[in-house]
Symmetry: C2
Subunit: 326 residues, 2 copies
């Protein structure tokens, strides 16, 4: 078994050595660029850790792990284009460094390369077909999630269940499928595969709620993004939806008025909305929800039929992911 740090190093090494078609360079340079920007490599590492519960020869499934990371980075590339985001991981996004058409076409090629890596790994043997279905579930589900995310921007009646389903699709599914694919490729039985999937799904939900919480209450020095971004764009997060439900009288009117306002001082809006959040106690409600879902995730991991000692890596991973302050 490998530690998380070892797996990250193995993933980064594999990505660094990857060979693309030498030509046309204009198509492949943006792909190499995006994949070189780093990141926590959460998805391939989860896949390798799940595989590691049953088998040691992780090199066998490296193409599948890298396929998932390539797919994830493709979604970032196209999402940044759709959001007109200028920066990603401290570097200019592809449509800024090159242009929009390059971002479209290199993104498409990246998605295809992800499928190529995944589907052509003959070492994976007969388990590949089942794993391929899980991969397909993830790739299409993330598109569903992105579509809901876009649609929610122009809606003011998004319900908590709808928000949770959106983040399940957009964020959790890929973690869930990473774990399930790792187990499937190792030949684990269906019960274990599903429990690992649910462990990842719940962990992903808790992770996203935590991310939303940090967007309001994080320490700007360590969070890495500007505080209050979700508040400024009226993102219908778990917190905003619940604050709107709980707040009454003047607080509710204030909150609704800030959502409607087209022109305002950004800092003033962030402060005003946060003050209402504080008054209705949204921070502890959100923390409680995170705790609850995180507990559920660990219960699913508990059901996986391998020695408890082997699960320590995944437990540590989940704890680091959730207890992080950046």
């Amino acid at each position: 078994m490998n530690s998380q740090a070892e797996l990250i190093a193995i993933v980064n090494q594999y990505i660094e050595k990857m060979q693309y078609n030498p030509q046309p360079e204009g198509l492949y340079a943006p792909i190499k660029y995006v994949l070189s920007l780093g990141g926590k490599r959460i998805r391939p590492v989860l896949m390798l850790m799940a595989y590691n519960l049953y088998k040691d020869d992780i090199q066998t499934i490296m193409p599948n792990a890298i396929a998932l990371e390539t797919y994830h980075n493709f979604t970032l590339l196209h999402d940044d284009l759709m959001d007109k985001a200028d920066m990603r991981r401290g570097n200019p996004t592809v449509h800024k460094k090159w242009d929009e058409n390059t971002a479209i076409l290199s993104g498409d090629a990246m998605l295809i390369i992800a499928y190529q890596l995944f589907s052509e790994n003959q070492k994976a043997g007969t388990n590949l077909i089942k794993a391929m279905q899980t991969f397909n579930e993830a790739t299409l589900g993330v598109c569903d999630g992105q579509q809901y995310d876009v649609e929610f921007e122009s809606r003011n009646d998004v319900k908590e269940e709808e928000y949770m389903e959106m983040i399940r699709l957009k964020t959790s599914l890929l973690l869930a499928c990473a774990l399930k694919i790792g187990a499937q490729l190792a030949g684990a039985d269906e019960e274990d595969c599903n429990n690992l999937y649910l462990f990842g799904e719940k962990m992903g939900l808790a992770f996203q709620l935590q991310d939303d919480l940090l967007d309001v209450y994080g320490n700007p020095a360590v969070f890495g993004k500007k505080i209050g971004g979700d508040i400024l764009c009226n993102k219908k997060t778990f917190m905003l939806i619940n604050a709107l439900n709980i707040a009454t009288g003047e607080d509710k009117a204030q909150l609704e008025s800030w959502i409607r306002k087209k022109e305002y001082n950004p800092q003033e809006k962030i402060q005003a909305v946060t003050t209402i959040y504080d008054k209705v106690g949204i921070k502890s409600i959100c923390q409680q929800k995170i705790e609850e879902i995180f507990e559920q995730s660990l219960q699913y991991l508990g059901k996986v039929k391998v020695e408890e000692s082997k699960k320590e890596g995944l437990k540590l991973f989940a704890n680091n992911l959730l207890k992080r302050n950046k």
Copy 2:
């Protein structure tokens, strides 16, 4: 064996009955729309015809045939977005009917659905793995071709070989792979698979050169597109590249001057360039090249080890594709 008309009907029927996720509707409506706009269904029909050379149960590989058509329509969707084209097959393009972000995301989902259809067809049996590699070759190659096409727009030194390689990737490869996949899924031997691939590759090249020729010399009443589009955007076609090589003195100077001109009367430019084409005899040079490549394509079909009578459908298909006047 089924006739071409029967196969088109079967393909259209299958597309019409296809079920997508019911939600989010905003993601799937553009996909249904694009696939409902018709077209000649060349790629799935070629795949089914190649399969038909060996086997009759075409229903077995319908998901693979539809995957190829879905992929092809995905490329049209994203290409139209990149080209800012307003119309496709007499209807508004997706980014016009919806918006640019919808075109990006629905296109991505379409590419994923193509892979889902292709990779999850368990009826295809063990031949699926080889066929999948051919599918990957096609999907990535088309991106390479599109990238070259974009790059050639801003270059004035494109050589004939480069142009031929670009249209091979952008147009021929998908026809070649359609035929090869059909044969692979039917369990044909490697020699037959490769000869069918080369038959398709050469047919595709001849088809694209014919399309370029019709863009200049076609009958506007039947061609379906406006005549002279390639001349107006200085597309480095086989014809323009050769005309620049052959023309001398005043003709060459004139041609180069029209390419450089930023402001002009479109009809005047089309007429002037066509006049130079006529003077250097580019029409017959192009026709001769088409004939030559078309002959090569039939030779490859001739080598395929099935009864000659079975090849009649493909011969007819190729003839119809090339002798068409629209």
